[in-house]
């Protein structure tokens, strides 16, 4: 079980790593090309993994409903937007925002499938998430704590110093 805990954490780190690597690449070649390279390399890698572990035979059983094409297309878009946000906001905020989007979508899907009682509890979580998103917009990662003027509590001044 401790192995699974470890693997799940590693999984999260891998997600963060792919985000950071693609973001770095997109600085050089742009977000669209970065998405292309991500999918190409991932495709080659998965082909190898399938040949080594699963066996090519499984692929022939692959039924491809129209859904499947949508998943891949959305994926291309996702990496594109992810790299863009990574360049603008950095690793932490990107991770937090993507997670927030996932949670909100999850709750909406759960609500639509008619589990109102549970989603009431989930709403509390969503409120916290939205509060966190609001805070992350108004915090500047570049301002160390010491630079905020604590002796001048005039809120107008406080806001302008954050906006500059």
């Amino acid at each position: 079980m401790i192995v699974c805990v470890f693997l799940a954490l590693i999984n999260g780190i891998l997600i963060g790593a792919s985000r950071a690597i693609n973001g770095r690449l997109s600085v050089d070649v742009g977000v669209v090309r970065a998405s292309f390279w991500n999918h190409l390399v991932g495709f080659i890698f998965l082909t190898l993994i399938i040949i080594l572990i699963q066996g090519v035979g499984q692929l022939t059983k692959l039924t491809v409903p129209p859904f499947a094409y949508l998943g891949g297309a959305i994926g291309a878009l996702f990496v594109l937007i992810n790299s863009y946000v990574f360049k603008k906001l950095g690793a932490i905020k990107t991770a937090l925002l993507v997670i927030s989007g996932q949670m909100i979508t999850g709750v909406l899907i759960d609500y639509k499938s008619g589990h109102a009682l549970y989603t009431l509890g989930q709403c509390l979580g969503i409120v916290l998430i939205l509060l966190g998103v609001y805070l992350s917009k108004n915090a500047s990662l570049k301002l160390p704590q010491t630079k905020i003027r604590v002796n001048n509590l005039n809120s107008a001044n406080f806001n302008t110093s954050l906006e500059k």
Partner: protein
């Protein structure tokens, strides 16, 4: 430096898209395996990205720096490998002894933890950023909120 609302919206949109993508892929995976579903998704994504390049990015959006020293290293092209690995790992942990909500929560923690390292230590060539109190609060709120959402899943 002011953070634009549009960037925030894009970040959340990315999360929405990711959920939709996982949902689509899981449907395909039911008929076969997660590996095959992801393999196909990568293939489609590759083709779609290629067309996006032709449509929108044919003129160099490329900003290859003149100075060779500041160019991305070869490793920057390998972002697809950890991305594909997550599918492999997810398939392993799903059949493991961990509850789904726990593994999701751990993945969230892993992502944010790694993000903190990248931002604070300046890995992957981005500018080092210092964390302010509000940033810690945002991290805590979103993590705790997410765990609540996951725990209360029907």
């Amino acid at each position: 430096m002011k953070i634009k609302s549009i960037d925030i919206v894009m970040g959340i949109l990315a999360g929405v898209l990711l959920s939709l993508m996982i949902y689509c892929n899981s449907i395909v995976a039911k008929g076969s395996t997660p590996l095959s579903a992801s393999w196909f998704a990568h293939l489609v994504g590759m083709v779609v990205a290629f067309f996006l390049i032709i449509l929108f990015a044919r003129k160099s959006n490329t900003i290859h720096p003149e100075n060779k020293m500041s160019r991305a290293p070869f490793g920057a092209y390998l972002g697809g490998i950890p991305g594909a690995l997550t599918v492999v790992l997810a398939s392993i942990t799903v059949n493991g002894s961990l509850k789904l909500s726990s593994s999701i929560a751990l993945m969230l923690v892993g992502q944010v933890f790694f993000g903190v390292l990248v931002d604070v230590l300046g890995w992957f060539g981005i500018f080092k950023r210092k964390l302010a109190l509000l940033d810690y609060s945002a991290i805590l709120l979103i993590l705790i909120g997410s765990i609540i959402v996951v725990v209360f899943r029907p």
